[in-house]
Amino acid sequence: MKDISKSYDKQKSVIDQISLSIEEGEFFVLVGPSGSGKSTLLRMIAGLEEISGGVLKMNNQVVNHLPPKDRNLSMVFQNYALYPHLTVEQNILFGLHAKKVDKMEQQRRLQETVEMMGLTELLKRKPKELSGGQRQRVALARSVVSEAPICLMDEPLSNLDAKLRAHMRIEIRRLQKKLGLTMIYVTHDQVEAMTMGDRIMVLNDGKIQQIGEPITLYNQPANLFVASFIGSPKINLSKAKLIDQKLVLENGLQITMNKEDTLPLLSQPNLTMGIRAEHIFPGTAEQTSHTLEVVNVEQLGNETLLTFEVGKELWTAKWLGQWRIQVGDQVPVQLSSKNICFFNSESGALIRPAVAMKEQEVVGL
């Protein structure tokens, strides 16, 4: 039913000719570093910012010219935009009151929403008497009570502490599924994007980098930007050259390649290789390809993060379990060409994703 497609061409080019369509009932995440234009894009959809070029459609109808109230959507702001002089109840009902919804209907919706969000006890309080999480819930309730089919969220979790954020992530996701909302969610946090989105759009400098499901973005990043933006710890990158069936990294590290793996790479003079932290395996007696010096160790309990210096870059390896390793130790590791993604150094475009990802996933399960 809902099919939004748009292409913008802003004069200042904050948003540069973006075209995409969002399905009904989808949790769509816009992610990008600050200043990438994701909030601007969201505000354009909401109608708070003018669209300088292109067409915005909802339900196959052009809505470019409509004011925000006629677009039939709700929005949650980063700072929640609660009215400080109104109680929680008045805050939630503000929109319905403005639209002159019937009193009985208002109360019915209020009761429903409040019970769903667990705010029954707080109705008579003012926003300043609420904790961050409670305010967040009121802001959500306000958008739920409007019963608009589209909900826009602009970094709603960025003001919460880490524990609460994890909790609210789940709650928002559940709410969206329960109500069948079409959600457009803006965040700069790639973890939020990965964990919540049905589909993710990575935005940088007002340009689409990649649109796809979280796992696709992780396994087959379209370019260097997506590769380094998605995933934590960051993907390990290094400039590399192909010499005699061997991949030679900047610092002289050599990785042996299969013949068929090198074929697509032969025509590329400048390569950048990327390998995920979990794919730098601890070397065993029979399978050790390299020995690297550890410059930092982070013990997380269930896993151990090791940092190596490779050329100009710092590489991180994520090993499951607890490893007793000291800074300065020479550690055997196993690097396999199967796990390496290759990018064109100049354009940043993906040449070949890591082929072994799929298998690894299955093994991992």
Partner: protein, 312 residues
């Protein structure tokens, strides 16, 4: 062993107390040092005159202001019997009723207009706030020209509409109104600027959120702007009210209290009593009454206001 330990503890706690006391004294001394300039200035220009005024209000004085005969509350009883003082109280009250809401409504209207993001709005903001930079004397002079019975613009306009010219400053029915109008004009610059500042500090997210909720312009004005502006409005209300009770300059320039004492506001009345009639005793008594009136009004305002005002 334990006894020794105990003794040591006692020793320590005594030391701590002494140390704390010393620190507190030092704090007090430093605080006083910082306060000293303002205490000095306030004493010379505020506390001493206030005390002296109260003292004088119980005496009759000679024409140099020296107290001669102690009369107790006689001065107070006397002025409350005086029709001129009662008239000036009434005029002052009316004046406050005209100018306070007038100033606030006009400047709120202008501030809301000037808060729109339009091209060239800076010019209007400057124009609207410019009366703040004009002294009471200068403003009074050109209002005097506007009010002039034969060559004034106001009467030219009145005549153009075919009405009888009005004696703006000479007709007892119009004089207070005319002074009020010029006072509102003088107040607007300051109140406009404060209210505009208040409007601009309201978070734009609130309006955006209301836009999405589908609130109309006047609904937003009533439910968001006015409540969010209430602390500023309250401040402006207090200041203009106090100013209204202390008005002197424009009365002196425009009407000199006339006609028939219609515009003889209380401060002007005090001035006349003291420096024209040389009745320092009764003038002091009037000044004390003015002080009490303003004090009581401000207390009432704060008591009532605090319930209605939403501080962030």
């Amino acid at each position: 062993m334990s006894e020794i330990a105990y003794q040591q503890e006692v020793q320590h706690s005594v030391d701590f107390l002494k140390e704390k006391k010393k620190q507190r004294l030092q704090h007090l001394f430093k605080g006083m040092l910082f306060l000293f300039p303002s205490i000095l200035l306030f004493s010379v220009f505020l506390f001493y005159p206030l005390g002296k005024t109260i003292y004088l209000s119980f005496f009759l004085t000679d024409n140099r202001g020296e107290p001669t005969i102690f009369v107790g509350m006689e001065n107070y009883l006397e002025i409350f019997k005086s029709p001129i003082f009662l008239q000036s109280l009434k005029s002052t009250l009316l004046f406050a009723i005209y100018t306070v809401p007038g100033s606030i409504i006009v400047s709120l209207f202008l501030a809301i207009l000037a808060n729109e993001k339009l091209r060239g709005i800076g010019v209007f903001r400057t124009v609207f706030s410019s009366s703040m930079g004009i002294s009471v004397a200068a403003a009074s002079v050109f209002w005097m020209f506007l009010f002039h019975p034969t060559i004034g613009w106001l009467n030219t306009i009145v005549k153009a509409f075919g009405f009888e010219p009005i004696g703006w400053l000479t007709d007892p029915n119009w004089a207070l109104f005319s002074v009020s109008v010029s006072t509102i004009w003088m107040n607007v610059g300051f109140t406009f600027l404060i209210l505009l500042g208040g409007l601009q500090s309201i978070d734009s997210y609130l309006y955006e959120s209301a836009d999405i909720d589908g609130a109309g312009y006047f609904y937003k004005l009533r439910r968001i702007t006015i409540p969010m502006l209430s602390p500023t409005l309250f401040f402006v209300l207090t200041v203009t009210l106090i100013n209204a009770f202390q008005t002197f300059g424009q009365v002196d320039m425009l009407t000199r209290g006339g006609p028939q004492n219609e515009t003889n506001l209380i401060v002007y009345s005090i001035y006349q009593e003291a420096f024209m009639n040389y009745q320092y005793g009764t003038a002091s008594a009037q000044a004390i009454i003015l002080f009490v009136i303003i004090l009581v009004l401000t207390i009432i305002q704060f008591k009532l206001g605090e319930r209605k005002v939403h501080y962030q």
